[in-house]
Amino acid sequence: MGLLQEIIFGLVTGSYIAIAAIGFTLIYGIVNMINFAYGEYISIGAFIGFLAANTLPGPLPVAVVVAMIGGGIVSIILARGFFTPINHTGPVPMLLTSIGLGIVLRNGLRLVGGRSARYFETETSTFQFDAIPDLPVGPVDLLGDFFVTSEQLVVVGSAVAVFASIHLLLTRTDVGIAMRAMGDDESLARVRGIDTQLIRDSVWVLAGVLAGLAGVLMAVQTNVSADTGFSHILQILSAAILGGAGSPYGAILGAYVIGLVLAVSTAFLPSSMTGLSSAVAFVILIAVLLVKPSGIAGTEVREA
Protein backbone atom coordinates (compact mmCIF):
# COMPACT_ATOMS: atom_id res chain seq x y z
CA MET A 1 0.00 0.00 0.00
CA GLY A 2 1.22 3.44 -0.82
CA LEU A 3 1.72 6.29 1.60
CA LEU A 4 -1.25 8.12 0.09
CA GLN A 5 -3.59 5.36 1.28
CA GLU A 6 -2.09 5.50 4.78
CA ILE A 7 -2.62 9.26 4.84
CA ILE A 8 -6.31 8.74 4.05
CA PHE A 9 -6.55 6.25 6.91
CA GLY A 10 -4.76 8.80 9.09
CA LEU A 11 -7.23 11.56 8.22
CA VAL A 12 -10.16 9.25 9.07
CA THR A 13 -8.61 8.23 12.40
CA GLY A 14 -7.76 11.85 13.09
CA SER A 15 -11.37 12.85 12.42
CA TYR A 16 -13.05 10.65 15.02
CA ILE A 17 -10.26 11.25 17.51
CA ALA A 18 -10.73 15.00 16.96
CA ILE A 19 -14.44 14.83 17.80
CA ALA A 20 -13.69 12.95 21.00
CA ALA A 21 -10.71 15.15 21.82
CA ILE A 22 -12.88 18.29 21.65
CA GLY A 23 -15.22 16.82 24.27
CA PHE A 24 -12.30 15.70 26.39
CA THR A 25 -10.52 19.04 26.25
CA LEU A 26 -13.71 21.02 27.02
CA ILE A 27 -14.10 19.03 30.24
CA TYR A 28 -10.44 19.65 30.99
CA GLY A 29 -10.65 23.38 30.35
CA ILE A 30 -13.87 24.12 32.19
CA VAL A 31 -14.29 21.46 34.88
CA ASN A 32 -10.49 21.34 35.30
CA MET A 33 -10.14 17.57 35.37
CA ILE A 34 -8.62 14.87 33.19
CA ASN A 35 -11.59 12.56 32.63
CA PHE A 36 -10.13 9.12 32.19
CA ALA A 37 -13.62 7.62 31.99
CA TYR A 38 -14.26 9.51 28.75
CA GLY A 39 -13.36 6.40 26.75
CA GLU A 40 -16.27 4.64 28.42
CA TYR A 41 -18.63 7.51 27.49
CA ILE A 42 -17.62 6.76 23.89
CA SER A 43 -18.24 3.04 24.34
CA ILE A 44 -21.66 3.78 25.84
CA GLY A 45 -22.42 6.00 22.83
CA ALA A 46 -21.40 3.17 20.52
CA PHE A 47 -23.67 0.71 22.35
CA ILE A 48 -26.64 3.10 22.32
CA GLY A 49 -26.10 3.73 18.62
CA PHE A 50 -25.86 0.00 17.93
CA LEU A 51 -29.06 -0.72 19.86
CA ALA A 52 -30.87 2.11 18.09
CA ALA A 53 -29.67 0.96 14.67
CA ASN A 54 -30.98 -2.54 15.30
CA THR A 55 -34.31 -1.69 16.93
CA LEU A 56 -35.43 1.55 15.29
CA PRO A 57 -36.65 1.41 11.70
CA GLY A 58 -34.86 4.53 10.52
CA PRO A 59 -31.52 4.82 8.72
CA LEU A 60 -28.14 5.13 10.43
CA PRO A 61 -28.37 8.93 10.96
CA VAL A 62 -31.34 8.31 13.29
CA ALA A 63 -29.18 5.96 15.35
CA VAL A 64 -26.44 8.59 15.42
CA VAL A 65 -28.85 11.21 16.79
CA VAL A 66 -30.14 8.75 19.41
CA ALA A 67 -26.55 7.97 20.43
CA MET A 68 -25.74 11.68 20.75
CA ILE A 69 -28.79 12.38 22.90
CA GLY A 70 -28.16 9.27 24.97
CA GLY A 71 -24.51 10.21 25.40
CA GLY A 72 -25.46 13.67 26.65
CA ILE A 73 -27.94 12.26 29.19
CA VAL A 74 -25.51 9.61 30.46
CA SER A 75 -22.76 12.22 30.76
CA ILE A 76 -24.78 14.68 32.85
CA ILE A 77 -26.11 11.91 35.11
CA LEU A 78 -22.59 10.57 35.73
CA ALA A 79 -21.24 14.07 36.29
CA ARG A 80 -23.98 14.87 38.84
CA GLY A 81 -23.46 11.55 40.59
CA PHE A 82 -19.68 11.35 40.65
CA PHE A 83 -17.86 14.56 39.72
CA THR A 84 -19.93 17.57 40.80
CA PRO A 85 -19.90 16.55 44.50
CA ILE A 86 -16.08 16.51 44.57
CA ASN A 87 -15.50 19.51 42.33
CA HIS A 88 -13.64 21.39 45.06
CA THR A 89 -11.03 18.69 45.79
CA GLY A 90 -8.67 19.45 42.91
CA PRO A 91 -7.44 17.68 39.80
CA VAL A 92 -5.81 14.57 41.28
CA PRO A 93 -8.76 13.19 43.29
CA MET A 94 -11.01 13.86 40.29
CA LEU A 95 -8.60 12.04 37.95
CA LEU A 96 -8.54 9.08 40.35
CA THR A 97 -12.34 9.09 40.62
CA SER A 98 -12.62 9.05 36.84
CA ILE A 99 -10.25 6.08 36.69
CA GLY A 100 -12.43 4.22 39.19
CA LEU A 101 -15.60 5.19 37.33
CA GLY A 102 -13.99 4.03 34.07
CA ILE A 103 -13.32 0.59 35.56
CA VAL A 104 -16.92 0.37 36.79
CA LEU A 105 -18.46 1.42 33.46
CA ARG A 106 -16.16 -0.73 31.33
CA ASN A 107 -16.91 -3.85 33.31
CA GLY A 108 -20.57 -2.95 33.53
CA LEU A 109 -20.65 -2.83 29.72
CA ARG A 110 -18.83 -6.17 29.62
CA LEU A 111 -21.41 -7.61 31.99
CA VAL A 112 -24.34 -6.36 29.93
CA GLY A 113 -22.90 -6.67 26.45
CA GLY A 114 -20.66 -9.69 26.80
CA ARG A 115 -17.07 -9.89 25.63
CA SER A 116 -17.55 -10.42 21.92
CA ALA A 117 -17.28 -7.53 19.46
CA ARG A 118 -20.29 -6.52 17.36
CA TYR A 119 -20.27 -4.85 13.99
CA PHE A 120 -22.49 -2.20 12.42
CA GLU A 121 -24.05 -3.37 9.21
CA THR A 122 -23.64 -0.51 6.81
CA GLU A 123 -23.86 -0.31 3.08
CA THR A 124 -20.56 0.93 1.82
CA SER A 125 -19.51 1.94 -1.61
CA THR A 126 -15.82 2.05 -2.40
CA PHE A 127 -14.26 4.54 -4.74
CA GLN A 128 -11.14 3.07 -6.25
CA PHE A 129 -8.39 5.22 -7.71
CA ASP A 130 -6.07 3.12 -9.87
CA ALA A 131 -3.28 3.81 -12.29
CA ILE A 132 -1.59 6.33 -10.07
CA PRO A 133 2.15 6.22 -10.67
CA ASP A 134 4.34 4.79 -7.93
CA LEU A 135 6.93 7.03 -6.35
CA PRO A 136 9.12 4.66 -4.38
CA VAL A 137 11.52 6.06 -1.80
CA GLY A 138 13.40 3.17 -0.21
CA PRO A 139 10.83 0.56 0.80
CA VAL A 140 8.00 3.10 0.96
CA ASP A 141 5.82 4.13 -1.95
CA LEU A 142 4.94 7.79 -1.68
CA LEU A 143 1.92 7.72 -4.00
CA GLY A 144 0.38 4.44 -5.19
CA ASP A 145 -3.20 3.34 -5.81
CA PHE A 146 -5.73 4.18 -3.15
CA PHE A 147 -9.40 3.88 -2.31
CA VAL A 148 -11.91 5.86 -0.28
CA THR A 149 -15.08 4.34 1.15
CA SER A 150 -18.33 6.22 1.68
CA GLU A 151 -18.01 5.42 5.40
CA GLN A 152 -14.71 7.23 5.52
CA LEU A 153 -16.19 10.25 3.76
CA VAL A 154 -19.06 10.29 6.29
CA VAL A 155 -16.58 10.23 9.19
CA VAL A 156 -14.51 13.10 7.80
CA GLY A 157 -17.66 15.03 6.85
CA SER A 158 -19.16 14.65 10.34
CA ALA A 159 -15.93 15.86 11.85
CA VAL A 160 -15.91 18.98 9.70
CA ALA A 161 -19.55 19.64 10.61
CA VAL A 162 -18.67 19.28 14.31
CA PHE A 163 -15.75 21.69 14.00
CA ALA A 164 -18.01 24.30 12.39
CA SER A 165 -20.78 23.89 14.98
CA ILE A 166 -18.33 24.03 17.90
CA HIS A 167 -16.76 27.16 16.46
CA LEU A 168 -20.18 28.80 16.08
CA LEU A 169 -21.23 27.68 19.55
CA LEU A 170 -18.11 29.05 21.21
CA THR A 171 -18.08 32.38 19.36
CA ARG A 172 -21.73 33.22 18.61
CA THR A 173 -23.82 31.96 21.54
CA ASP A 174 -24.05 33.18 25.13
CA VAL A 175 -23.42 29.69 26.50
CA GLY A 176 -20.32 29.28 24.36
CA ILE A 177 -18.92 32.67 25.30
CA ALA A 178 -19.61 31.89 28.97
CA MET A 179 -17.73 28.59 28.52
CA ARG A 180 -14.70 30.38 27.16
CA ALA A 181 -14.86 32.93 29.96
CA MET A 182 -14.95 30.15 32.53
CA GLY A 183 -12.04 28.41 30.86
CA ASP A 184 -10.03 31.62 31.22
CA ASP A 185 -10.89 32.48 34.79
CA GLU A 186 -13.68 30.90 36.77
CA SER A 187 -13.80 33.47 39.58
CA LEU A 188 -13.95 36.39 37.17
CA ALA A 189 -16.69 34.62 35.22
CA ARG A 190 -18.74 34.24 38.42
CA VAL A 191 -18.20 37.89 39.30
CA ARG A 192 -19.63 38.80 35.91
CA GLY A 193 -22.82 36.94 36.78
CA ILE A 194 -22.26 33.67 34.94
CA ASP A 195 -23.97 30.69 36.55
CA THR A 196 -20.84 28.53 36.69
CA GLN A 197 -22.65 25.34 37.70
CA LEU A 198 -25.05 25.70 34.77
CA ILE A 199 -22.14 26.18 32.37
CA ARG A 200 -20.36 23.19 33.87
CA ASP A 201 -23.49 21.10 33.34
CA SER A 202 -23.80 22.22 29.75
CA VAL A 203 -20.17 21.31 29.13
CA TRP A 204 -20.87 17.83 30.48
CA VAL A 205 -23.86 17.48 28.18
CA LEU A 206 -21.90 18.78 25.19
CA ALA A 207 -18.99 16.42 25.91
CA GLY A 208 -21.44 13.52 26.21
CA VAL A 209 -23.08 14.41 22.88
CA LEU A 210 -19.67 14.50 21.19
CA ALA A 211 -18.74 11.19 22.84
CA GLY A 212 -21.94 9.63 21.48
CA LEU A 213 -21.13 10.78 17.95
CA ALA A 214 -17.47 9.74 18.20
CA GLY A 215 -18.60 6.38 19.59
CA VAL A 216 -20.82 5.55 16.62
CA LEU A 217 -18.18 6.71 14.12
CA MET A 218 -15.47 4.70 15.86
CA ALA A 219 -17.76 1.68 16.03
CA VAL A 220 -18.55 1.91 12.31
CA GLN A 221 -14.82 2.01 11.58
CA THR A 222 -13.83 -0.67 14.09
CA ASN A 223 -16.40 -2.52 16.23
CA VAL A 224 -18.76 -2.21 19.20
CA SER A 225 -17.36 -3.63 22.43
CA ALA A 226 -16.66 -2.59 26.00
CA ASP A 227 -13.18 -1.56 24.86
CA THR A 228 -14.20 0.56 21.84
CA GLY A 229 -13.54 3.84 23.62
CA PHE A 230 -10.94 2.67 26.13
CA SER A 231 -8.62 1.50 23.36
CA HIS A 232 -8.59 5.06 22.04
CA ILE A 233 -8.44 7.04 25.28
CA LEU A 234 -4.68 7.50 25.31
CA GLN A 235 -4.75 8.77 21.72
CA ILE A 236 -7.56 11.20 22.59
CA LEU A 237 -5.61 12.35 25.61
CA SER A 238 -2.44 12.76 23.56
CA ALA A 239 -4.34 14.79 20.97
CA ALA A 240 -5.85 17.05 23.64
CA ILE A 241 -2.51 17.66 25.37
CA LEU A 242 -0.66 18.03 22.08
CA GLY A 243 -3.04 20.79 21.08
CA GLY A 244 -2.79 22.44 24.48
CA ALA A 245 -5.11 21.11 27.16
CA GLY A 246 -8.35 23.09 27.25
CA SER A 247 -8.19 24.39 23.70
CA PRO A 248 -10.73 22.86 21.27
CA TYR A 249 -8.93 24.20 18.20
CA GLY A 250 -5.63 22.81 19.42
CA ALA A 251 -7.33 19.46 20.05
CA ILE A 252 -8.46 19.27 16.42
CA LEU A 253 -4.93 19.95 15.22
CA GLY A 254 -3.47 17.51 17.74
CA ALA A 255 -5.91 14.79 16.70
CA TYR A 256 -4.90 15.01 13.05
CA VAL A 257 -1.22 14.99 14.01
CA ILE A 258 -1.80 11.84 16.09
CA GLY A 259 -3.89 10.21 13.35
CA LEU A 260 -1.33 10.91 10.64
CA VAL A 261 1.61 9.85 12.80
CA LEU A 262 -0.13 6.56 13.61
CA ALA A 263 -0.86 5.89 9.94
CA VAL A 264 2.51 6.99 8.56
CA SER A 265 4.47 5.11 11.21
CA THR A 266 2.47 2.02 10.23
CA ALA A 267 3.76 2.54 6.69
CA PHE A 268 7.38 3.03 7.70
CA LEU A 269 7.72 0.44 10.50
CA PRO A 270 8.59 -3.13 9.54
CA SER A 271 5.47 -5.28 9.38
CA SER A 272 6.38 -7.23 12.54
CA MET A 273 6.41 -4.03 14.56
CA THR A 274 3.25 -2.23 13.47
CA GLY A 275 2.03 -2.56 17.06
CA LEU A 276 4.62 0.07 17.94
CA SER A 277 2.68 2.79 16.15
CA SER A 278 0.62 3.49 19.27
CA ALA A 279 3.85 3.88 21.23
CA VAL A 280 4.94 6.51 18.71
CA ALA A 281 1.90 8.62 19.62
CA PHE A 282 2.85 8.49 23.30
CA VAL A 283 6.46 9.38 22.51
CA ILE A 284 5.10 12.50 20.78
CA LEU A 285 2.94 13.22 23.82
CA ILE A 286 5.89 13.00 26.21
CA ALA A 287 8.07 15.03 23.85
CA VAL A 288 5.42 17.79 23.73
CA LEU A 289 5.12 17.85 27.52
CA LEU A 290 8.89 18.20 27.79
CA VAL A 291 9.55 20.76 25.07
CA LYS A 292 6.41 22.88 25.11
CA PRO A 293 4.16 21.69 27.92
CA SER A 294 1.53 24.24 27.05
CA GLY A 295 0.95 22.48 23.73
CA ILE A 296 0.27 24.19 20.44
CA ALA A 297 -2.20 26.65 21.98
CA GLY A 298 -2.74 26.32 25.67
CA THR A 299 -1.92 27.07 29.25
CA GLU A 300 1.05 26.27 31.43
CA VAL A 301 0.98 22.85 33.10
CA ARG A 302 4.25 23.07 35.00
CA GLU A 303 4.46 24.22 38.57
CA ALA A 304 8.10 24.93 39.02
Partner: protein
Protein backbone atom coordinates in the same frame (compact mmCIF):
# COMPACT_ATOMS: atom_id res chain seq x y z
CA UNK B 1 24.73 1.10 71.96
CA UNK B 2 23.65 -1.21 69.20
CA UNK B 3 22.37 -0.07 65.84
CA UNK B 4 18.82 -1.12 66.75
CA UNK B 5 18.78 1.11 69.82
CA UNK B 6 19.49 4.12 67.73
CA UNK B 7 16.53 3.59 65.40
CA UNK B 8 14.10 6.43 66.00
CA UNK B 9 10.92 4.38 66.07
CA UNK B 10 9.79 1.07 67.51
CA UNK B 11 7.69 0.25 64.47
CA UNK B 12 10.68 0.04 62.17
CA UNK B 13 12.50 -2.17 64.71
CA UNK B 14 9.71 -4.66 64.96
CA UNK B 15 9.33 -4.90 61.19
CA UNK B 16 13.07 -5.43 60.84
CA UNK B 17 13.17 -8.17 63.46
CA UNK B 18 10.06 -9.86 62.06
CA UNK B 19 11.53 -9.66 58.56
CA UNK B 20 14.83 -11.20 59.64
CA UNK B 21 13.00 -13.97 61.51
CA UNK B 22 10.95 -14.70 58.37
CA UNK B 23 14.08 -14.79 56.23
CA UNK B 24 15.78 -17.16 58.71
CA UNK B 25 12.76 -19.46 58.85
CA UNK B 26 12.51 -19.44 55.07
CA UNK B 27 16.20 -20.26 54.77
CA UNK B 28 15.71 -23.05 57.31
CA UNK B 29 13.04 -24.62 55.12
CA UNK B 30 15.11 -24.09 52.01
CA UNK B 31 18.47 -25.52 53.06
CA UNK B 32 17.67 -28.06 55.79
CA UNK B 33 15.66 -31.22 55.30
CA UNK B 34 12.86 -29.64 57.37
CA UNK B 35 9.55 -30.09 55.51
CA UNK B 36 6.22 -28.29 55.76
CA UNK B 37 2.82 -29.76 55.03
CA UNK B 38 0.00 -27.58 53.74
CA UNK B 39 -3.65 -28.58 53.83
CA UNK B 40 -4.82 -28.28 50.24
CA UNK B 41 -7.41 -25.63 51.22
CA UNK B 42 -4.55 -23.33 52.17
CA UNK B 43 -2.76 -23.47 48.82
CA UNK B 44 -4.73 -20.60 47.37
CA UNK B 45 -4.07 -18.47 50.47
CA UNK B 46 -0.34 -19.01 50.20
CA UNK B 47 -0.31 -18.28 46.46
CA UNK B 48 -2.24 -15.02 46.87
CA UNK B 49 -0.07 -14.32 49.91
CA UNK B 50 3.11 -14.56 47.83
CA UNK B 51 1.67 -12.17 45.25
CA UNK B 52 0.58 -9.88 48.11
CA UNK B 53 4.06 -9.59 49.59
CA UNK B 54 5.51 -8.85 46.13
CA UNK B 55 2.87 -6.17 45.51
CA UNK B 56 3.57 -5.03 49.07
CA UNK B 57 7.03 -3.87 48.00
CA UNK B 58 5.36 -2.08 45.06
CA UNK B 59 2.89 -0.27 47.30
CA UNK B 60 5.63 0.77 49.74
CA UNK B 61 7.55 2.36 46.86
CA UNK B 62 4.43 4.05 45.54
CA UNK B 63 3.60 5.34 49.00
CA UNK B 64 7.04 6.91 49.18
CA UNK B 65 6.27 8.70 45.91
CA UNK B 66 2.62 9.65 46.34
CA UNK B 67 1.84 9.31 50.03
CA UNK B 68 4.92 11.11 51.27
CA UNK B 69 6.04 13.33 48.41
CA UNK B 70 2.79 13.82 46.49
CA UNK B 71 4.13 12.56 43.15
CA UNK B 72 1.27 11.11 41.12
CA UNK B 73 2.93 8.13 39.45
CA UNK B 74 0.27 6.28 37.49
CA UNK B 75 2.71 4.07 35.61
CA UNK B 76 4.16 2.23 38.59
CA UNK B 77 3.86 -1.09 36.76
CA UNK B 78 6.53 -0.03 34.27
CA UNK B 79 9.25 -0.09 36.93
CA UNK B 80 7.97 -3.46 38.15
CA UNK B 81 8.08 -4.74 34.55
CA UNK B 82 11.54 -3.32 33.77
CA UNK B 83 12.98 -4.87 36.95
CA UNK B 84 11.39 -8.21 36.10
CA UNK B 85 12.52 -8.19 32.46
CA UNK B 86 16.07 -7.10 33.30
CA UNK B 87 16.39 -9.86 35.90
CA UNK B 88 14.81 -12.44 33.59
CA UNK B 89 16.92 -11.59 30.55
CA UNK B 90 20.16 -11.63 32.50
CA UNK B 91 19.48 -14.94 34.21
CA UNK B 92 17.30 -17.00 31.86
CA UNK B 93 18.68 -20.18 30.36
CA UNK B 94 17.27 -21.72 27.18
CA UNK B 95 14.45 -19.25 26.92
CA UNK B 96 11.97 -20.05 24.14
CA UNK B 97 12.01 -16.54 22.70
CA UNK B 98 13.97 -13.39 23.40
CA UNK B 99 17.34 -13.01 25.11
CA UNK B 100 18.53 -15.15 28.03
CA UNK B 101 22.12 -14.66 29.16
CA UNK B 102 22.29 -17.24 31.95
CA UNK B 103 24.15 -15.17 34.56
CA UNK B 104 23.73 -16.03 38.27
CA UNK B 105 20.52 -14.72 39.82
CA UNK B 106 21.97 -12.30 42.44
CA UNK B 107 23.55 -10.35 39.59
CA UNK B 108 20.24 -10.41 37.69
CA UNK B 109 18.34 -9.10 40.72
CA UNK B 110 20.86 -6.29 41.25
CA UNK B 111 20.67 -5.27 37.59
CA UNK B 112 16.85 -5.38 37.76
CA UNK B 113 16.86 -2.90 40.65
CA UNK B 114 19.42 -0.67 38.90
CA UNK B 115 17.54 -0.74 35.57
CA UNK B 116 14.29 0.31 37.24
CA UNK B 117 16.13 3.05 39.16
CA UNK B 118 17.70 4.36 35.94
CA UNK B 119 14.32 4.47 34.23
CA UNK B 120 12.91 6.21 37.30
CA UNK B 121 15.72 8.77 37.12
CA UNK B 122 15.09 9.32 33.41
CA UNK B 123 11.35 9.84 33.93
CA UNK B 124 11.85 12.15 36.89
CA UNK B 125 14.62 14.20 35.28
CA UNK B 126 12.32 14.98 32.37
CA UNK B 127 8.89 15.13 33.97
CA UNK B 128 9.09 15.76 37.71
CA UNK B 129 8.27 19.45 37.25
CA UNK B 130 4.92 18.72 35.63
CA UNK B 131 1.71 19.40 37.53
CA UNK B 132 0.27 16.35 39.34
CA UNK B 133 -2.30 15.22 36.82
CA UNK B 134 0.11 15.65 33.90
CA UNK B 135 2.81 13.67 35.68
CA UNK B 136 0.17 10.93 35.96
CA UNK B 137 -0.35 11.05 32.19
CA UNK B 138 3.38 10.94 31.40
CA UNK B 139 3.98 7.97 33.68
CA UNK B 140 0.92 6.21 32.29
CA UNK B 141 2.13 6.80 28.72
CA UNK B 142 5.62 5.56 29.68
CA UNK B 143 4.06 2.33 30.91
CA UNK B 144 2.11 1.94 27.65
CA UNK B 145 5.23 2.60 25.55
CA UNK B 146 7.21 -0.06 27.39
CA UNK B 147 4.31 -2.49 27.21
CA UNK B 148 4.20 -2.22 23.43
CA UNK B 149 8.01 -2.43 23.21
CA UNK B 150 7.94 -5.68 25.21
CA UNK B 151 5.24 -7.07 22.93
CA UNK B 152 6.72 -5.93 19.63
CA UNK B 153 10.46 -6.62 19.89
CA UNK B 154 10.14 -10.39 19.87
CA UNK B 155 13.84 -11.06 19.27
CA UNK B 156 14.80 -9.21 22.42
CA UNK B 157 11.85 -9.47 24.81
CA UNK B 158 10.10 -12.57 23.50
CA UNK B 159 6.88 -10.88 22.41
CA UNK B 160 3.68 -12.11 24.04
CA UNK B 161 5.39 -15.32 25.18
CA UNK B 162 7.94 -13.36 27.18
CA UNK B 163 11.12 -14.77 28.70
CA UNK B 164 10.99 -18.36 29.92
CA UNK B 165 13.53 -20.45 31.77
CA UNK B 166 14.32 -17.91 34.51
CA UNK B 167 16.06 -19.71 37.39
CA UNK B 168 13.97 -20.20 40.53
CA UNK B 169 16.47 -20.19 43.42
CA UNK B 170 14.03 -21.45 46.07
CA UNK B 171 12.44 -24.05 43.82
CA UNK B 172 15.88 -25.41 42.92
CA UNK B 173 16.67 -25.96 46.61
CA UNK B 174 13.38 -27.53 47.65
CA UNK B 175 11.76 -30.22 45.61
CA UNK B 176 8.45 -30.80 47.36
CA UNK B 177 5.81 -28.23 46.51
CA UNK B 178 4.34 -27.60 50.00
CA UNK B 179 7.67 -26.66 51.51
CA UNK B 180 8.55 -24.65 48.45
CA UNK B 181 5.45 -22.48 48.78
CA UNK B 182 5.96 -21.93 52.50
CA UNK B 183 9.65 -21.13 52.06
CA UNK B 184 8.87 -18.70 49.20
CA UNK B 185 6.22 -16.92 51.25
CA UNK B 186 8.57 -16.65 54.24
CA UNK B 187 11.54 -15.39 52.24
CA UNK B 188 9.60 -12.88 50.13
CA UNK B 189 7.54 -11.81 53.16
CA UNK B 190 10.82 -11.30 55.01
CA UNK B 191 12.10 -9.08 52.20
CA UNK B 192 8.89 -7.05 52.32
CA UNK B 193 9.16 -6.61 56.09
CA UNK B 194 12.79 -5.52 55.82
CA UNK B 195 11.71 -3.07 53.09
CA UNK B 196 9.02 -1.79 55.46
CA UNK B 197 11.66 -1.28 58.13
CA UNK B 198 13.94 0.59 55.72
CA UNK B 199 11.26 2.94 54.39
CA UNK B 200 9.99 3.55 57.93
CA UNK B 201 13.52 4.47 58.94
CA UNK B 202 13.74 6.79 55.93
CA UNK B 203 10.43 8.56 56.43
CA UNK B 204 10.78 8.90 60.23
CA UNK B 205 14.05 10.67 59.66
CA UNK B 206 14.15 14.44 58.99
CA UNK B 207 14.43 13.45 55.34
CA UNK B 208 10.86 12.10 55.40
CA UNK B 209 9.66 15.30 57.04
CA UNK B 210 11.01 17.28 54.08
CA UNK B 211 9.18 14.93 51.68
CA UNK B 212 5.89 15.47 53.52
CA UNK B 213 6.51 19.20 53.58
CA UNK B 214 6.86 19.13 49.77
CA UNK B 215 3.53 17.33 49.50
CA UNK B 216 1.87 19.84 51.80
CA UNK B 217 3.30 22.98 50.19
CA UNK B 218 6.15 22.92 47.74
CA UNK B 219 6.63 26.66 47.61
CA UNK B 220 7.05 26.97 51.38
CA UNK B 221 9.51 24.06 51.40
CA UNK B 222 11.55 25.73 48.71
CA UNK B 223 11.49 29.00 50.56
CA UNK B 224 13.16 27.42 53.61
CA UNK B 225 16.07 26.42 51.41
CA UNK B 226 15.27 22.83 50.46
CA UNK B 227 15.94 21.84 46.87
CA UNK B 228 12.51 20.32 46.28
CA UNK B 229 13.34 19.04 42.79
CA UNK B 230 16.26 17.03 44.20
CA UNK B 231 14.11 15.57 46.96
CA UNK B 232 11.30 14.72 44.53
CA UNK B 233 13.73 13.08 42.11
CA UNK B 234 15.26 11.02 44.91
CA UNK B 235 11.87 9.87 46.20
CA UNK B 236 10.80 8.94 42.70
CA UNK B 237 13.99 6.94 42.08
CA UNK B 238 13.70 5.14 45.44
CA UNK B 239 10.13 4.14 44.60
CA UNK B 240 11.16 2.97 41.14
CA UNK B 241 14.07 0.95 42.56
CA UNK B 242 11.74 -0.76 45.05
CA UNK B 243 9.39 -1.63 42.19
CA UNK B 244 12.39 -3.02 40.30
CA UNK B 245 13.25 -5.16 43.34
CA UNK B 246 9.67 -6.44 43.41
CA UNK B 247 9.89 -7.19 39.68
CA UNK B 248 13.16 -9.08 40.04
CA UNK B 249 11.76 -11.15 42.91
CA UNK B 250 8.62 -11.82 40.88
CA UNK B 251 10.68 -13.10 37.93
CA UNK B 252 12.76 -15.35 40.18
CA UNK B 253 9.65 -16.71 41.90
CA UNK B 254 7.57 -17.15 38.75
CA UNK B 255 10.31 -18.53 36.51
CA UNK B 256 8.98 -16.55 33.56
CA UNK B 257 7.93 -13.03 32.63
CA UNK B 258 5.44 -11.97 29.96
CA UNK B 259 3.63 -8.72 29.10
CA UNK B 260 0.40 -10.17 30.51
CA UNK B 261 1.78 -9.98 34.07
CA UNK B 262 2.47 -6.25 33.76
CA UNK B 263 -0.75 -4.57 32.72
CA UNK B 264 -2.29 -1.34 34.01
CA UNK B 265 -4.30 -3.60 36.33
CA UNK B 266 -1.22 -3.90 38.57
CA UNK B 267 -0.97 -0.11 38.85
CA UNK B 268 -4.68 0.16 39.64
CA UNK B 269 -4.49 -2.56 42.31
CA UNK B 270 -1.62 -0.95 44.21
CA UNK B 271 -3.14 2.54 43.87
CA UNK B 272 -6.50 1.44 45.27
CA UNK B 273 -4.78 -0.51 48.03
CA UNK B 274 -2.77 2.55 49.00
CA UNK B 275 -5.71 4.98 48.94
CA UNK B 276 -7.98 2.56 50.79
CA UNK B 277 -5.47 1.94 53.58
CA UNK B 278 -4.38 5.55 53.90
CA UNK B 279 -1.49 7.12 52.03
CA UNK B 280 1.62 8.21 53.96
CA UNK B 281 1.22 5.41 56.49
CA UNK B 282 3.33 2.38 55.56
CA UNK B 283 1.42 -0.22 57.54
CA UNK B 284 -1.92 1.23 56.43
CA UNK B 285 -1.09 0.93 52.73
CA UNK B 286 -0.10 -2.70 53.25
CA UNK B 287 -3.38 -3.33 55.09
CA UNK B 288 -5.34 -1.61 52.31
CA UNK B 289 -3.59 -3.73 49.71
CA UNK B 290 -4.44 -6.86 51.68
CA UNK B 291 -8.14 -5.89 51.59
CA UNK B 292 -8.08 -5.42 47.81
CA UNK B 293 -6.17 -8.65 47.24
CA UNK B 294 -8.41 -10.40 49.75
CA UNK B 295 -11.26 -9.68 47.33
CA UNK B 296 -9.49 -12.00 44.88
CA UNK B 297 -9.63 -14.78 47.47
CA UNK B 298 -13.30 -14.18 48.15
CA UNK B 299 -14.09 -14.17 44.45
CA UNK B 300 -12.17 -17.42 43.97
CA UNK B 301 -14.24 -19.15 46.63
CA UNK B 302 -17.51 -17.49 45.64
CA UNK B 303 -16.91 -18.55 42.06
CA UNK B 304 -17.30 -22.17 43.10
CA UNK B 305 -20.70 -21.67 44.74
CA UNK B 306 -22.33 -19.22 42.33
CA UNK B 307 -23.76 -20.20 38.98
CA UNK B 308 -22.11 -17.43 36.94
CA UNK B 309 -19.12 -17.87 34.65
CA UNK B 310 -15.60 -16.78 35.50
CA UNK B 311 -15.75 -13.87 33.05
CA UNK B 312 -18.89 -12.47 34.62
CA UNK B 313 -17.42 -12.85 38.05
CA UNK B 314 -14.21 -11.05 37.05
CA UNK B 315 -16.31 -8.15 35.76
CA UNK B 316 -18.30 -7.98 39.00
CA UNK B 317 -15.11 -8.00 41.07
CA UNK B 318 -13.66 -5.14 39.02
CA UNK B 319 -16.88 -3.15 39.36
CA UNK B 320 -16.63 -3.54 43.14
CA UNK B 321 -12.96 -2.49 43.05
CA UNK B 322 -13.82 0.60 40.97
CA UNK B 323 -16.66 1.56 43.30
CA UNK B 324 -14.35 1.19 46.31
CA UNK B 325 -11.91 3.62 44.67
CA UNK B 326 -14.67 6.16 43.96
CA UNK B 327 -16.17 5.81 47.44
CA UNK B 328 -12.83 6.11 49.26
CA UNK B 329 -11.95 9.34 47.46
CA UNK B 330 -15.35 10.83 48.11
CA UNK B 331 -16.16 9.74 51.65
CA UNK B 332 -12.81 8.93 53.21
CA UNK B 333 -10.10 10.71 51.23
CA UNK B 334 -7.47 9.90 53.84
CA UNK B 335 -8.18 6.18 53.68
CA UNK B 336 -9.21 3.90 56.55
CA UNK B 337 -6.15 4.42 58.74
CA UNK B 338 -4.80 7.65 57.25
CA UNK B 339 -4.58 10.96 59.08
CA UNK B 340 -6.87 13.46 57.28
CA UNK B 341 -5.24 16.45 58.92
CA UNK B 342 -1.77 15.37 57.93
CA UNK B 343 -2.80 14.59 54.36
CA UNK B 344 -4.51 17.96 54.07
CA UNK B 345 -7.82 16.51 52.93
CA UNK B 346 -9.99 17.43 55.93
CA UNK B 347 -12.72 19.82 54.97
Amino acid sequence: MSVLDRLPSGRGDRALIAGLVCLLLGALFAVTPLRAQLPSALYVFVEVGILFVIYGILVLGLDLQYGHTGLVNFGHVVFFAVGAYATAMLTAQDTFAGIGLGYPWPLGLAVGVIAAAILGAAVSLTSIRLRGDFLAIVTLATAEIFHSIFVNFENIFGGNVGILGVPRPIASLVSDSDTRLVATLLVLGGVTLVTLAVVTRLTDAPYGRVLRAIRADELVTRSVGKSTITYKTQAFVYGAALAGLAGGLFALYNGAVAPGFFTIQVTVTVWIGMLLGGAANHRAVLAGLSIIMGLRLISRFALNVTPVSGDVFASIRLIVVGLILVAVIRYRPAGIWGDPQELGVDQ
